[in-house]
């Protein structure tokens, strides 16, 4: 079973904080990888918050292919940060030759296009790069979005942290929002794309558990949107459902939970909004999940969200202090990063509940 965690902070924090959150939970995962998505960036990326940031791991050839494509499309390089990796012998890491984190400016002809158009361009660009690199196994493109950095690697999380010098706070990497996970998807093939968190057009998501309606979800999502691809992990479907409900259908956030874990018919019938809930359950029956899962998501506005499956078969706890709200599969992770918090304020999200953390760190809770 995966362990997942996230931190939303008033002040920029270093990724080592996320490691501190995840490593105490290692008995619950298999130390097969480490992945994180950082948003609302500080450090070296602070000056370029509005410039799309490409996160990529690739071979030398892959880097050249990507560069050629971006140049041809008219993207203009603004800044590049290359992690100074520690090539230490004995590290349990299956590293890629190159890691590229590069900010771009939009092609000149796109300068006057709407924000929505630009967001479609960013998706199309990422998908195109992915396809180019996938052909000969030249690399992986994780995200291409302003103010979003993705790092994923296969290996022992501690070794990965050592390799990328994540324990050392050089000031380069910092963010106010981090979502992390310490396991590759060992249910299926070990593929970098299968490691959550996943990212799509401003939506970040990681999940633990088993999606028993994976086939149903996948068969439905494949025809819904060009960005719903890969499916290397059964948890990607949660991200695509989130994206579909909020971005494509433009429904209010509370309906995400109604889509993935609809209320039983008997309960719907008792509700004032039974008509709407029934229509949703009917129409989106193939996006339901029905296994054990906990979800942590970040919305395009920066809000962080957590909810569970309808039977509460996976754990999650939320702790907080004045500067930070932390979501964790296990309380031992919280204890490590927020040892002095008021534990009476801890929230154990229940099966009907959605918890949303605003950018002001206000914690909103509601029942579906």
């Amino acid at each position: 079973m995966c362990r997942i965690g996230s931190i939303k902070s008033r002040k920029p924090i270093h990724p080592s904080k996320a490691l501190s959150l995840m490593l105490p939970q290692q008995e619950g995962h298999d130390n097969s990888g480490f992945a994180l998505i950082m948003q609302d960036l500080d450090g070296v990326f602070a000056p370029y918050k509005d410039k799309p940031l490409l996160s990529m791991a690739c071979t030398r050839q892959g880097a050249a292919l990507a560069k050629n494509y971006m140049d041809a499309e008219g993207f203009v390089e603004v800044a590049t940060w290359t992690p100074q990796v520690r090539r230490q012998s004995g590290l349990a890491i299956n590293a890629m030759p190159q890691y590229i984190f590069r900010n771009y400016d939009y092609p000149e002809v796109w300068a006057d296009r709407s924000q929505e158009d630009k967001e479609e361009l960013l998706l199309d660009t990422r998908l195109a790069l992915r396809e180019i690199l996938e052909k000969n196994g030249e690399g992986y493109v994780y995200s291409f979005w302003p103010d979003v950095l993705t790092l994923k690697e296969i290996g022992d999380p501690r070794a990965i942290a050592t390799y990328f010098r994540l324990w050392e706070d050089s000031g380069a990497l910092a963010a106010k929002s981090i979502v992390a996970q310490c396991r590759q998807n060992t249910n299926y093939d070990i593929v970098r794309y299968a490691a959550h968190p996943f990212f799509l057009q401003g939506y970040t998501l990681c999940a633990n558990g088993e999606n028993t309606f994976y086939t149903k979800n996948l068969e439905y999502q494949k025809s819904l949107h060009r960005g719903y691809i890969g499916f290397e992990s059964d948890s990607q479907t949660f991200l695509y459902s989130l994206h579909y409900v909020l971005r494509q259908l433009k429904w209010p956030v509370k309906y995400y939970k109604h889509v993935i874990t609809p209320l039983p018919f008997a309960e719907i019938e008792q509700r004032g909004d039974a008509d709407v809930l029934t229509r949703i359950r009917e129409s989106l029956a193939h996006l339901e999940i029905n296994g054990p899962n906990t979800i942590i998501a970040v919305l395009p506005g920066g809000e962080m969200l957590s909810c569970c499956d309808s039977k509460k078969l996976r754990p999650v706890v939320i702790g907080q202090d004045d500067d930070m709200v932390v979501i964790s599969s296990e309380v031992c992770g919280l204890n490590n990063v927020l040892p002095d918090r008021d534990i009476s304020q801890d929230i154990y999200v229940n099966e009907r509940e959605v918890v949303l953390i605003t950018n002001e760190l206000a914690v909103q809770r509601w029942k579906q």
Binding site: E210, R279, S310
Partner: protein
């Protein structure tokens, strides 16, 4: 040696022979009285025996006449193997025995095309028995407790819209429904399939209706029953129990005069309307009610004279799928104020996917369900040649339809209901569950219902006398003396008991795969031990 005319019909030519033991027989006559086919009669045999009548051995040869029960040698009164004689005999003196060397199929054709009821006797293969629920929750996710968890076992009957077509508007942080949507009823995923009053005796039909109402009102299970073609009693149509009924309209439109006249007096809407285009047991044929079964009350309900009632093979005036949608779906929907879902039932066929595609793409979005009836479906009367040699297996065809919808992102928009052989071996829950995992929203059962009422027919040629009006179980007959053989309450009870068990068994299948709502289309839950089946259905092969 010209003592034998070999063309003469003999006992050994018949499908069933009577095994009679005179030494056990008390000549009570019950078997003869019980045989509805008149396949046995009381006769007299000449016997030659050596007897000793004195107190000491004094053997003497005697010739005597003895009354016996014997089988009639007649094509029209040939024993059908129903076993009522054995059932009624107090001494186990008589029983029918299958005659594997019979010549019946050749000889009976001198009477013209053979007609019978039941289901195909040639294609009784069981695809579903080559499929196992093989994806069990072990470690990766927990199995559920079938006794403790709550399960949402419901299926849609009605047209479902894609989310972008839903009339929802955002008000504040909520959605509001701002317009009507097509009616959808969420019902139990097993419908008591369409068998008419006429095909069934009034008692049999009433027993199923009684069980339906009981399951709804006492057990909280929303089972629905389809009327079959031929209408319903006005009393039922004007009662609140109508909400449990799906009205059927078939190509003969039998019974619809009374239904339309009852419309203004209906207190509640029916659960749905099912347009029958075709039937799996005899695709391409219309309904058939032999004159023998057109009793006075059937004449009254249907408004017909006493004659064999043939429904046409097609709905007159319908020449295309588009027309069907525009004429029948719209007019039937309009008749009930667009409050009642209208679905369509077709015989499974090589063309089923084309039909389903057309319905899915219909701009009116009005078809509330696609019912597919496979070659193993039952019938009250059909030509044997149709029963045994026409039709299409339903499992792969339903799966084809589902996958056609998947390829277009339209799965679930028109609910798929499948029937024809569901519960053939008595395990309807397993059959239903596998069909659901393959993409069906629910299943329809007919033959199983009458078997629960006491029908002894099977697909090995036993009985199948539904078309004769001489049903020995009082189920498929209108003869008042035979109808009284069926105890309505006991019949209804056996249906209720079976369905309660089926509900438990469905939970026992949902629980180990960790699902509390129906796994429609969850084909990954299944494996097949037959490579060809696995390949055709797109599921994993396991051995």
């Amino acid at each position: 040696m010209e003592t034998i005319v070999t063309q003469e019909l003999s006992r050994t030519d018949l499908r069933w022979n009577i095994d009679y033991r005179p030494e056990r027989c008390t000549m009570c006559g019950s078997c003869v009285a019980a045989c509805t086919i008149n396949a046995i009669e009381v006769g007299v045999e000449r016997r030659s025996m050596t007897l000793s009548r004195a107190a000491y051995p004094d053997p003497a040869r005697e010739h005597m006449s003895r009354p016996v029960i014997r089988q009639r040698v007649s094509l029209s009164q040939a024993c059908v193997g129903c076993g009522m004689c054995a059932k009624v005999c107090p001494n186990e003196a008589i029983r029918p025995v299958r005659n594997p060397d019979n010549r019946f199929a050749m000889l009976t054709r001198c009477l013209g095309p053979a007609k019978r009821g039941g289901r195909t006797n040639l294609n009784a293969q069981r695809t579903l028995d080559h499929i196992i629920v093989g994806r069990i929750s072990q470690m990766t996710d927990p199995s559920l407790d079938s006794e403790r968890h709550t399960f949402d076992i419901r299926a849609p009957f009605g047209r479902i819209l894609l989310p972008e077509h839903l009339p929802l508007a955002i008000e504040g942080d909520s959605l509001k429904q701002i317009d009507r949507t097509p009616p959808v009823n969420w019902i139990y995923p097993l419908i008591f399939s369409d068998m008419s009053i006429g095909a069934l005796s009034t008692r049999a039909w009433e027993a199923i209706a009684l069980a339906t109402a009981y399951l709804n009102e006492k057990c909280g299970l929303p089972f629905r029953m389809c009327s079959g073609e031929g209408g319903m009693p006005v009393k039922l149509m004007t009662s609140d129990k109508l909400k449990y009924m799906i009205l059927q309209i078939a190509s003969g439109h039998f019974g619809w005069n009374r239904i339309l006249r009852a419309l203004p007096h209906m207190k509640t809407d029916p659960a749905g309307v099912l347009i029958k285009i075709g039937q799996g047991a005899k695709p391409g044929d219309g309904g058939l009610l032999p004159a023998a079964k057109v009793a006075p009350h059937i004449q009254a309900i249907r408004g017909v004279p006493k004659a064999t009632l043939h429904s046409p093979p097609n709905h007159q005036g319908l020449y295309s799928i588009e027309e069907s949608v525009q004429k029948m779906h719209l007019s039937l929907s309009a008749a009930f104020g667009f409050r009642v879902p209208v679905a369509i039932k077709c015989a499974a066929s090589a063309t089923s996917v084309s039909v389903y595609n057309n319905l899915l793409r219909d701009p009116y979005r009005i078809c509330g369900g696609f019912f597919l009836d496979g070659v193993q479906g039952g019938t009250g009367a059909a030509n044997e040649i149709s029963l045994d040699h026409t039709g299409h297996p339903v499992v792969s065809k339903m799966r084809d339809c589902y996958m056609a919808a998947v390829r277009q992102g339209l799965q679930g928009q028109i609910p798929l209901w499948a029937g024809g052989g569901i519960g053939m071996t008595g395990n309807a829950a397993a059959d239903a569950f596998k069909m659901i995992c393959l993409g069906a929203n629910g299943v329809i059962v007919g033959k199983l219902m009458i078997q629960l009422l006491g029908c002894v027919g099977n697909e090995q040629g036993r009985c199948n006398a539904c078309s004769t009006g001489k049903c020995p179980a009082g189920i498929c007959t209108q003869d008042p003396r035979l109808v009284r053989r069926l105890d309505i309450d006991r019949g209804a009870q056996s249906i209720v008991d079976y369905m309660l068990t089926l509900d438990s068994e469905l939970r026992k299948l949902m629980a180990p795969i960790g699902n509390s709502s129906l796994p429609v289309g969850r084909s990954d839950a299944l494996v097949s031990t037959d490579r060809a089946v696995a390949e055709k259905l797109g599921i994993v092969y396991a051995c």
